[in-house]
Amino acid sequence: MNTESKKKSSNRLVTFTWIIGIILIWEIGATIIANTKRSPENVLPHLWQIIQSVFNPNFVNGTQTAFQIVISNAGITLLRAGIGFLIGAGIGFILALIMNMFNPVEKTLYPYLMIIQMIPILGMAPIVLAVTKDINKSRIVIAAILTFYPVATNTLAGFKSVEHEKHELMHSLAASQFEIYRKLMIPSSMPYFFTGLKISAPMAITASILVDTLQGGGGLGCMLSQSLKHATTIYIFWQIVFLSALIGIGSFYLMSLIERLVSPYKRAKKAKR
């Protein structure tokens, strides 16, 4: 218990040092830039100015405060990324399952999956929009495309990593193919599946924001590129930057949390260490 609490407090110390370090560097940068006369005043505002802008009750566009604008657009982006992520995770899992069951499918499909991953997301966005003819749908599809690949490859690796002896045990018990997947393969690939989810969750959100910047239709990225153009809305820009980072990190931890809820043995492992 003692060493455990020591370890925890040292972890906290590391986090604390990091945060302090980032604040220091930011503030030094902001001060230097504020003092160079030529730059526009607000390019790199002080942190307290950004925090203040969050609580500023003045309307920016006549009906909403800066923070209200950010939050409502974050909702749009999150919803698209979230739906896309769920669809992508589902497709990724099913693809892994099919590829594992049928070897020829794996051999034919895998190169295509890799090619899809190679296409830059900014190049894919107009194509997807042309196909779906709908801003919302296209963003969802983009998020799904980015999600399914890490999920599929990791889950497939999980299926393949099941020990030979575990298969022999199922064989000796005359288990059916369905039972082997249900009782052995799927539960045993869960840590890999969640690794895939942890990689793709922040990616789905980042991609959603990125694609927003290209095409209109609201969302964080859309606001991001608009707000950058005017000195009066620069705080919206910085609020979005920070919020996006928080959402990305949050999505990762959300996946870890869900994993711990579905895999109680991992909790037991943690508690023991």
Binding site: E163, E165, K166, E168, L169, H171, S172, L173, A174, A175, E179, K183, L184, P187, S188, M190, S263, Y265, A268, K269, K272
Partner: protein, 277 residues
């Protein structure tokens, strides 16, 4: 009869007197196993012309150094390894038919536990495959954990247990479906000497209570002699049976018997029957 009574009936003490006249359960006739050489050379002969009869309720050990084919033989009986020539029949049926009837319990060298399942649910798993009702499963799991002495650890996860305890869970799981034949492939070879001796005593106690046929693969002479009714000595290159030694030490056996003159004479007898090692 309720399910619990059925389980209790399973644990009637063994009567040693009948055992000698017990019927032949497994018949191995002229069995050879060859593995194709990957480099296109001559196939490797893992087993050559093995003949063996195993009686119902017998504790038989397959003993030999690595490469003697002892694991190949037990895997052939378990229908995990196809044989090249010869015939294996178990109660008049093929190993595959016996496997499909779920009459085999297998304990591997490593415990092969599912780390996402608790001890209880690991033991339960084969019964789920048999489609046994939940109530019966729970009762049987409790009984099995009692049998291997892990009652307090039912809700632990495998990684929280020691190696010896994990292997006990493996034994409980193998016995849970009430197999006719228990196949054990070097189950204790990864354990320390103290744990091993404890498990030897436990295994003999379980065997006495359950009246299973046990085929036990090992490379440890003392272990084979202490546990078995008969020790099948296999020699390598090519794998073949070089002797079958009857172990007539009285049962129930205790650890003190390992120091007896009788025991050590049998150990030397077994040791001397190896060929070409």
């Amino acid at each position: 009869m309720t399910s619990l009574e059925k389980i209790d009936n399973e644990f009637q003490e063994r009567d040693y007197s009948i055992q000698q006249e017990a019927e032949i359960e497994i018949k191995i006739e002229n069995v050879s196993v060859q593995f194709p050489d990957n480099n296109g050379g001559e196939p490797v002969t893992a087993l050559q012309n093995v003949n063996l009869e195993i009686r119902q309720g017998e504790f038989i050990s397959l003993l030999g150094p690595s490469g003697c084919g002892k694991t190949t033989l037990i895997r052939a009986i378990a229908d995990l390894q196809p044989i090249t020539t010869g015939k294996i029949s178990v109660r008049g049926l093929s190993p595959k038919e016996i496997r499909l009837q779920k009459k085999y319990g297998i304990v591997f060298q490593s415990p092969v536990l599912y780390d996402w399942r608790t001890v209880r649910r690991n033991v339960c798993m084969p019964m789920e495959l048999m489609g046994m009702p939940k109530k019966d499963r729970t009762a049987r799991v409790t009984k099995m954990l009692e049998l291997v002495g892990l009652m307090e650890f039912g809700n632990h996860y495998p990684h929280e247990l020691s190696g010896g305890m994990q292997q006990r869970v493996g034994i409980a799981r193998a016995l849970a479906i009430r197999p006719e034949i228990l196949l054990m492939d070097e189950p204790f070879s990864a354990l320390d000497e103290f744990t091993k001796e404890k498990l030897h005593e436990d295994l003999l106690r379980i065997w006495r209570k359950t009246n299973k046929t046990i085929i036990f693969v090992t490379h440890n002479i003392q272990e084979a002699v202490f546990l078995s009714d008969r020790v099948v000595v296999l020699s390598p290159h090519p794998g073949r049976v070089s002797a079958v030694v009857d172990i007539d030490i009285p049962r129930p056996r205790t650890l003190e018997m390992k120091e007896s003159v009788e025991f050590n004479a049998l150990v030397s007898k077994v040791r001397n029957s190896f060929e070409g090692v």
